[in-house]
Amino acid sequence: MTLTAGCDVGSLTTKAVIMDDKAVKSSALIKSKSNPEASARQAMAEAMEKAGVTESELSNVIGTGYGREKIPFVTDVKSEISCHARGAKWLLPSIKTIIDIGGQDCKIIRIDDQGEVVRFVTNDKCASGTGRFLEVMAKALYMDISELGDLNRKSNSPVTLTSTCTVWAQADIVKFIHSGIPVEDIGAGINLAMAKRVSTLVNSVQPEKEVCMTGGVAKNRGVTSLMEKLLGFRLKPIRRADPQLVGAIGAALFGRNR
């Protein structure tokens, strides 16, 4: 049995996945540190401990994410676009378009029947439409990012954020809080701003179905349901794994083919 690992060092979180020939054996997800190598080592150590394997038992370790060039122990590196495509195709074979919202960027990837990337776009040099946007907004609301997703269901009148700029939006949030607007309406407004921004980007690549979401924001039901409404179609949910691990899974899958 071949064991491979994928290590995705992102701007906010670092993910590691150990896979055998058939399935994901273990995974780890940690907050990224200031040093990409230290992040990668810690995530890998956690994943290996859970799987009960040592580094020497791994035939290949593939690195991806922004810190990929700084991981010394990998066999090869792949861009996160290719990794998300490979991982999503493995988890959902019918998938044609992948929306990946990471910590500092948002990527829309179109793949062909073989899972090869045919087109992709990423957002501009700006934090809006990224995980960082939600993180900053959650902080301004004094809540955990995981609590944001549920606020849509409780809100009757979501606020409108006048700017998609993270800095200005944060100033808007403070103003709303001071005006006494219920926190669920502010939270729902944040999810709506995010969904609008990402949907615009999705439409620019003329998405083909099925469409799925990967990355941490895929776990925010508030954003995904609003995106379904704005895009006019359902997003296929990833059930076999944590959507945040898809890049690392894709990297581990690339390790199999080496």
Partner: protein
């Protein structure tokens, strides 16, 4: 030789400039490839393209232009304000696009507010947006006017003979650039995209005679050069917004499989296609050559011709992928890149659109991720 090209491509005050000034020569900077540099050369003045490299901040650029505009003219103004253009005796601004047109206004206003920012000769050179007959006549008039202005300000005479000599010198440079390009069409190409781009940028800032002589010698060495490029690289073409960022080409080629073999940039080889005929009416000949070929999206209604130029290059340089870059807020290239992407992808030519800031590559990580993913796509 390559060191000389690299110095000229990466530094405003390179040895070619300082030596020219030490010899008492005058220098005129110009903003756009639509200005016939032969005219300045014929006056015995060194024409150099205005560039925004080596800026260390953006306080003056932001103060006069505001934030929502192309960073290229802002960097030129910033450079002028921080003293980088002290060597200039003159500057000629052309409406290559609306942002470049504003450079004239902003630079002039900055000159009113701060002493020594505007050079002694400061000229707005208009260029029509169409090539029809009456526009061509207008363009000839513009060339005639700037000739008279240069003659008056610098107290020189630009004769027909001196224009002929300058046209011949520039033609020689164009021929050498075409020879260089032939090397780049070879499989494998014996020169990297970074080196080739450094040479074409150097051509916009080195004294032309020196550039021609150095390039001629370099081409001889290229004949016998053993292949230094990666084996079976993916051959790329870079097109789009004005760019003299050597670091961008370096960044692309930092991917071990990537080799930039062609470009269609105005600091590159976009304008070196044809020689200018030496005729009795050199101004007319310059006008026809500079305005006649519609290579820049600033020219109205000739998209199909520009697409055809790219298609031809893709074929003759055996291009595997096209990188369409544009500086943020560049309306002309931003929109045309979208059309090019649509039409080239339809023909099965992979394209990568990149929007970026001009200036020191702060965006490196993000750009590299996209470039690597593109290379994985076409590999």
């Amino acid at each position: 030789m390559m060191k000389q090209f690299m110095q000229a491509a990466t530094g405003l005050n390179h040895p070619g400039i300082t030596q020219w000034k030490e010899n008492g020569g005058a220098i005129v900077g110009y903003s756009c490839s639509y200005l016939p540099a032969e005219l300045i050369h014929a006056a015995g003045i060194l024409p150099i393209r205005l560039r925004g490299i080596e800026t260390t901040g953006m306080d003056m650029g932001d103060a006069y232009f505001g934030p929502y505009i192309c960073s290229y003219p802002k960097c030129i103004l910033q450079q002028a304000a921080q003293g980088g253009y002290q060597m200039l005796d003159g500057a000629v601004i052309t409406p290559g696009c609306d942002s470049m047109r504003r450079l004239f206004e902003c630079w002039r206003k900055a000159g009113e507010d701060h002493q020594g920012v505007v050079p002694g000769f400061f000229y707005y050179f208009d260029v029509p947006h169409k090539t029809v007959d009456h526009r061509m006549k207008w363009f000839v008039d513009e060339i005639d006017s700037i000739q008279k202005a240069i003659e008056t300000h610098f107290e020189v005479e630009i004769t027909v003979e001196s224009l002929h000599r300058s046209i011949a010198t520039y033609n020689q440079g164009r021929k050498l650039m075409r020879d260089l390009e032939r090397f780049r069409t070879q499989l494998p190409a014996p020169i990297s995209g970074t080196e080739a781009f450094a040479i074409s940028i150097a051509g916009t800032t080195l004294p032309r005679e020196e550039f021609n002589a150095t390039l001629s010698n370099f081409l001889e060495t290229l004949e016998n050069r053993s292949d230094k490029n990666p084996e079976n690289p993916k051959r790329l073409m870079v097109i789009g917004s004005i760019s003299d960022d050597l670091d961008l080409i370096k960044l692309i080629e930092s991917n071990e499989k990537a080799l930039v073999v062609a470009d269609n940039l105005c600091f590159g080889v976009r304008h070196d296609a044809e020689e200018i005929p030496v005729t009795d009416n050199p101004l007319e000949a310059l006008a026809q050559s500079y305005l006649g070929a519609s290579t820049c999206p600033r020219m109205f209604g000739q998209y199909k011709e520009r697409l055809a130029i790219l298609e031809k290059k893709v074929e003759s340089y055996s291009v595997d992928g096209v990188i369409l870059q544009n500086i943020r807020f560049c309306d002309l290239h931003g929109s045309e890149n979208g059309l090019f992407e649509r039409d080239l992808e339809k023909q099965g030519i992979p394209c990568l659109k990149l929007e970026r800031e001009y200036g020191p590559l702060a965006d490196t990580g993000r750009l590299k991720m996209r470039l690597d993913a593109f290379m994985e796509r076409i590999s």
